[in-house]
């Protein structure tokens, strides 16, 4: 069994890397091949992978992970303002700071489990949000959000005489630079910021894979299965759960910092409970406790948020233009509540259907399809066991 896993992991890593790097090409036909959305896919993928280490493995449902996302953003922003526009110090500081915060919040919240844990984390996150919104206005600039200014210190950078704001860079390589290539009749946009996020996403995915396969991961799964039994056998589970909590908090901080690296602005709405809920949705939609699920969930949610919300009546009329006017009017009337500002409705319906029929998320859906295809293959060929349908766990 282990032999098979080894090979599979290699395949998973390879497939994942190729898919991520080819993102701009694969997603362009779906209208999602532009840098901002690609970056969001990668960043929220990291966020969801980290969340899944806690929720997927230990079963502890945190409703406050957006707090760490926000903390990471603010830390990174202050690094940009005070030290340098190079992203490395910003990333390091934000991971450290969010790690520290998650130690404190985790230490307190993990004294309880189940719903009480969720409520505690929610309370901490909401507190952080309110602190960022009003109490710490000098640090966070309140609702307006923290932005770069020409007058910022940036002690490590050369004096800025260009009169325009500097942009985040990696040792001189500007992250917002995009190379546009005409290929396959499409305009493909290869953006440095995206590839930077993509490399970190792949690293984050690799670390998560190692955790899933490690004895530590096994212990976390044991916590999920039956924490009482573990306690009775004399194992103190607290260090394990706290470890998972801190790791996922650091993932969130990293994601927050990357948000700032690709778009230098940090606002408190990033810490609101809706943002915490979003990552829960992403993880469940994609598949809790699976490796690839959270990334897929993050992609689906960010796609609908950015693409469906842009479809207005005019665009719909364009879609149905080839039909007779009465039918097209009728279709526009039916479809329009589900797109544009009503995209939440579509998302809610999808989520409901997935949870009802595919409790294992979209990954379960994919597995079922593969199984089905495999069984067809078996019938027709009546040779060899059907294709290896090991889920992309």
């Amino acid at each position: 069994m282990f032999e098979k896993l080894k090979n599979n992991d290699k395949l998973i890593m390879l497939g994942f890397t190729i898919m991520v790097f080819a993102g701009p090409i694969i997603l362009a036909p779906f209208g999602a091949g532009y840098p901002d959305l690609l970056q969001r896919f990668a960043i929220f993928g990291i966020f969801a992978i980290g969340f899944n280490i806690l929720f997927g493995l230990t079963g502890y449902l945190s409703f406050g992970h957006a707090a760490f996302l926000g903390i990471g953003s603010y830390s990174a922003m202050w690094m940009f303002k005070l030290l340098t526009m190079n992203v490395i110090p910003a990333l390091i500081l934000s991971v450290i700071v969010s790690g520290l915060f998650s130690v404190v919040i985790g230490y307190m919240s993990l004294r309880r489990s189940g719903i009480y844990f969720s409520i505690l984390t929610l309370a901490f996150a909401q507190m952080s949000y309110n602190l960022a919104y009003s109490v710490f206005t000098p640090i966070t600039n309140g609702e307006t959000g923290l932005q770069l200014r020409l007058q910022d210190a940036r002690i490590l950078d050369a004096v800025n005489t260009s009169g325009s704001l500097p942009s985040p860079m990696l040792f001189g390589l500007k992250l917002n630079a995009t190379n546009v290539v005409e290929m396959f009749g499409m305009k493909l946009q290869f953006n440095w910021g995206f590839y930077f996020c993509a490399i970190i996403l792949i690293a984050a995915f690799y670390v998560s894979l190692r955790i899933f396969r490690s004895p530590f991961g096994l212990m976390l799964r044991a916590v999920k299965t039956n924490q009482n039994r573990l306690n009775y056998t004399g194992i103190n589970t607290r260090p394990y759960t706290l470890g998972a909590f801190v790791i996922s908090g650091m993932y969130a901080g990293l994601a927050g910092a990357l948000l700032v690296c690709t778009d230098p602005l940090a606002g408190p709405e990033r810490m609101q409970w809706t943002a915490s809920g979003e990552v829960v949705l992403m993880t469940i939609l994609g598949g809790v406790g699976t490796l690839i699920g959270p990334v897929i969930g993050a992609g689906v949610i960010k796609y609908s948020e950015n693409i469906f919300s842009k479809i207005n009546d005019k665009v719909l009329e364009g879609y149905f233009a080839m039909m007779p006017e009465s039918i097209s009017d009728f279709l526009v009337f039916i479809v329009s509540p589900f797109v544009g500002s009503g995209w939440h409705l579509t998302l809610g319906l999808t989520f409901m259907l997935v949870v009802t029929f595919l409790p294992g998320g979209l990954v379960e859906g994919a597995t079922r399809i593969f199984d089905w295809l495999g069984s067809i293959g078996k019938k027709t060929k009546s040779a060899k066991p059907g294709g290896n349908t090991e889920a992309a766990e």
Binding site: T17, P35, D36, E143, L150, V180, V181, L188, R213, K310
Partner: protein, 449 residues
Amino acid sequence: MTKLISGFTRRGIIKTGAVGAGALAMPLVFTGSASAYTNEPTGSDVTFGFNVPQTGAYADEGADELRAYELAVEHINGGGDGGMINTMKPLSLKGNGVNGKKVVYVTGDTQTKADAARASAKSMIEKDGAVMITGGSSSGVAIAVQGLCQDAGVIFMAGLTHSNDTTGKDKKANGFRHFFNAYMSAAALAPVLKSAYGEGRNVYHLTADYTWGWTQEKSIVAATEAMGWNTVKTVLTPLTTKDFSSYIAPIIASGADTLVLNHYGGNMINSLTSAVEFGLRDKVVNGKDFQIIVPLYSRLMAQGAGANVKGIFGSTNWHWSLQDAGSQAFVKSFGQKYGRPPSQAAHTTYVQTLLYADACERSGTFNPCGVGEALEGHKFDGMGNGPTEYRAADHQCFKDVLVVKGKENPTSDFDLLEVVEVTPRAQVEYAPDHEMFAGGSLGKCNPGA
């Protein structure tokens, strides 16, 4: 841990990485940027991005802004009755689009959140190729999007944003604002308030907790204290607040006789309704009738708050009942298309779109630097506010300001405000380095690319 999985060797990873990086670098070799500025339009169309709140506290304003944008595009492309194109002076637009290109547009939802607004604006710039972004209904969002447009190298034509900071400490070379600001409101309101309510009042402020609220509170406090009023207390309320009763109750005990609501949109509707329900307006404190003031007023808000607005003073950028030719032409074409008069939000966004298009036509380019130059110091008339100037030093429009009051006897659902005074431009003008606006710099125009 390492025993369980040994599929990855350091060498293997390095190899894969090198191959991957090579594959990535391949297409980059063959590229070069041909255009002179971000999203230079190459076809027969040019794309504008309309980024407005469709959800949240300012959704009503956003919906009206969107109507105005659609109307503006129609008029620029030569459709409809032309609206203000018939009254705008000077005018370079020919009614065949801009620089010979037909105007098309994309829309997006800012959700009244800076993050969402920037994501939406970014997708307009990166995916749809928008050459200009306009919108906003919250200064926080406008400032965030203005910063983004400066970085990306497109023009930002601010919609409804009233904070001093938009053209003050957060001003940007690529950003332009037609709407008036908090300082102007305060300067216009103060003399009217003094003559209506007398001297020596004690004022209590409820303020929306973000850049607009802060600067408006500061402006009103400065203006009222200069005429001898006393500020009792200022309280910040989160933008997301819906129930203001817990903020209203302490006012009664504070000994204040005047309440200033630095709220807008849904916030103001809820806080004013709550204040009236608590009976504040029927109170007599220190021998004075209790008064409420709403410094930034709009007809949409008045509609939402209903009878509660009767007799309440405020200021506004524009009102549909104005009798000049420009206002009337706009009200007529807006009314014909949508069956209602436009709000001030609709007016400012309509005017901004026309001004941008006109500047492109005058400069013969969509390059943000060329367009910016055409707008800087531009003087125009016939757009509803009388003679107006885009000041070059801070990209703020200077024009007359309207002081309005809730009508006691409205004749229709829309006839809710009456114009009390038109405060001339000279009275609301300030130096670009005024202390409430200091601390920022325009920087240089950025054409991107």
